[in-house]
């Protein structure tokens, strides 16, 4: 029983993390049809910025809870700066070109940003443990868990709710849904697609950065931080259906729970299962489990 609870909790925490990391990727794909490899850079930059600032704040004698403010501040700043630079500087010139070429362009940008991180933050790892140490740990299912990890679940719920409310209840969300559903008709109706793209890309970048910033206190932030996250978040959005926010939630839950089960029962299959699920979904439902069936246009 205890093992079951442990697996479930581990899975939920990891799913929450995956959801926060991939929701930005899926929004950007849904609206702009861009498979954004740079998402790994947003994640890494968010983590580095947060870890660096938390360290600075701790040295300056700020209280530990300020770390939480810093995390959200870093996510917003990184998302704004990188998102705007990339969308205005590179992507806006790519929209009329092949989807595959855009993927390659974001891959190139990702590589460049990887090294810019090293130039800005150096090669030594950063440890920003203060927010995590502040919350301590709780006894759950017979083992001590750090409370900070559990707050990820809450954050994921808040992010999911915010996305849902924005998409369904605001004017902006309806505009986004219109572009997701049919770009050309939206343009014909007089919608300013350029503005929608800028906002979407920046928002997606912020979510990516938030994932990195929030996870930063639990790990050592070191070079190569964004590499594994890219394929993981690809797996999540592919499983759920690219461009669908509920899909990202389902994909994150599937990957998170399956991985937690594998880690506890068959540790050698930890990575195998994730990509086996991804391949299976692509083979049988290439549009993803929960994406609506696309009508073929001629």
């Amino acid at each position: 029983m205890d093992t079951a609870i442990t697996i479930l909790l581990d899975g939920l925490v990891f799913s929450s993390y995956l959801f926060i990391v991939s929701v930005g990727l899926t929004i950007i794909f849904g609206v702009m049809k861009i498979l954004n490899v740079t998402h790994g850079s947003f994640y890494a930059w968010g983590a580095y910025t947060a870890a660096f600032l938390i360290g600075v704040a701790a040295n300056a004698g700020w209280p530990d809870w300020a770390g939480f403010g810093i995390i959200f501040f870093s996510a917003i700043v990184v998302g704004l700066v990188l998102g705007l630079i990339l969308e205005r500087g590179i992507l806006q010139f790519m929209y009329h070109r092949d989807e595959v070429l855009i993927v390659l362009a974001t891959f190139g940008t990702f590589l460049v940003l990887e090294d810019v991180i090293l130039l800005v933050f150096g090669v030594n790892p950063y440890f920003a443990f203060q927010p995590m140490a502040l919350l301590g740990s709780v006894q759950l299912g017979g083992i001590a868990r750090d409370t900070y990890g559990l707050t990820l679940i809450g954050l994921a719920v808040v992010v999911a709710a915010a996305c849902w409310l924005t998409l369904k209840r605001t004017r902006w969300g309806k505009l986004l849904s219109a572009v997701i559903y049919d770009r050309e008709v939206s343009v014909a109706m007089g919608l300013n697609v350029t503005r929608v793209y800028i906002v979407t890309f920046t928002l997606g970048a912020m979510f990516g950065a938030l994932g990195g910033a929030y996870i930063a206190p639990t790990v050592s932030v070191a070079p190569g931080f964004g590499i594994d996250v890219i394929v993981l978040s690809f797996a999540v959005v592919v499983i759920g259906g690219m461009g669908s926010v509920p899909g990202a939630m389902i994909g994150a839950l599937a990957v998170g729970l399956v991985r937690a089960l594998a880690v506890h029962k068959f540790p050698q299959f930890e990575l195998f299962v994730i990509y086996a699920v991804m391949a299976t979904v692509l083979v049988f439902r290439p549009e993803g489990l929960f994406a609506p069936v696309k009508v073929r246009k001629i």
Binding site: F93, G108, L111, D115, V231, A235, E270, A276, L282
Partner: protein
């Protein structure tokens, strides 16, 4: 075949390179080994790229070839280079043939992603399995050639390079002939309009399947050679998605203009890497990424377009650009 200017050029280049390799210092021999091994893989990716298919997972076949060579030389008494490479090629082709039935239905990013997923499965297995060397990989003993073992390591490398150059020549000539055939000419036709190709009476899926199997065969051979040239295998530089990305990068860098382009592109890549690590150790990825962006935006023909412009004649086979 002998009238083909590309084949003539390749043959002259082969003879020149064979002669040169006996006079250059050993570090250049190594660079030539790595570059030619990678070039063989890139030729296969170029065939796919001409159809506008990009695989973000060919490290699967590259790594499979490398690990086949490594496992055989570690766990069996086989040391002959030709047997090892033959096994690598056969396994990669078999897997490519089977997976080909699935991926041939996919295009664009779905093609890229499905290949990525399959390659990450192999990566996941390798990283978590102790018997396969886990994250460290393992080293490979120097191979023998038809029962002949070289005492001197450098002579062994030179022998391997001679074999590799000849195989590389054969691959380039073979692919050139394939591209000149009807089946090969479908490559660009499929890129331009699949439905018209179907109306002409050809099966697009079958044509893509053949290209895919060809590319996996070449990736397996290239991976096998790379394992022998390096003397070791490891999952992160050979099977992880970044390795696939590197292969795609060299493909774009080389340009789709000619079967000779991958050799030039791969050599430039190896030289760039060597000097970048020496002079600016933290700028390697920036150079690769920046080059990729420059090529996408300004040089759709890649290195080959640059070479033909310098030499002042058009590349054989009508270089397809990147288009829109």
């Amino acid at each position: 075949m002998l009238r083909d200017r590309t084949v003539q050029g390749l043959t002259i280049a082969l003879i020149a390179l064979l002669v040169i390799s006996f006079f250059v210092p050993s570090w250049i021999v190594n660079q030539m080994l790595f570059a030619s091994a990678r070039a063989i893989v890139v030729i296969g990716l170029m065939v796919l790229w001409r159809t506008r298919l990009v695989s973000f997972g060919h490290a699967l076949y590259f790594g499979l070839g490398a690990y086949t060579v490594a496992m055989l030389s570690r766990y069996t008494p086989v040391t002959d280079a030709f047997l090892l490479l033959g096994a690598a090629a056969a396994l990669a082709t078999l897997l490519g043939f089977l997976i080909g039935f699935i991926v041939r239905r996919y295009r664009d990013i779905f093609f890229a992603m499905l290949n990525l997923a399959f390659s990450m499965i192999l990566y996941g297995i390798l990283v978590k399995t102790e018997a396969l060397g886990s994250t460290d990989g393992f080293t490979i003993a120097a191979p023998t050639f038809f029962g002949f073992a070289f005492e001197d390591a450098q002579e062994g490398k030179l022998a391997l390079l001679c074999v590799l150059l000849v195989v590389g020549w054969a691959v380039a000539v073979g692919v050139q002939m394939y591209l000149q055939s009807t089946l090969g000419r479908l490559t660009t036709a499929i890129r331009d309009n699949e439905i018209r190709v179907e109306y002409l009476g050809y099966s697009v899926e079958r044509a893509i399947h053949i290209k895919y199997v060809l590319s996996t065969l070449l990736a397996g051979i290239g991976g096998g050679f790379m394992a022998l040239a390096l003397g070791q295998v490891d999952p992160d530089s050979m099977v992880n998605w970044t390795a696939s990305g590197e292969l795609v990068f060299v493909t774009i860098l080389s340009g789709p203009g000619s079967v000779a382009a991958p050799f030039i592109g791969s050599f430039v890549f190896e030289i760039l890497r060597t000097y970048a690590f020496e002079w600016m150790p933290h700028a390697w990825q920036m150079i690769v990424g920046g080059t990729l962006l420059i090529i996408i935006f300004f040089m759709p023909g890649g290195m080959w377009a640059l070479v033909t412009r310098l030499v002042g004649r058009r590349g054989a086979g009508g270089a397809p650009g990147m288009g829109h």
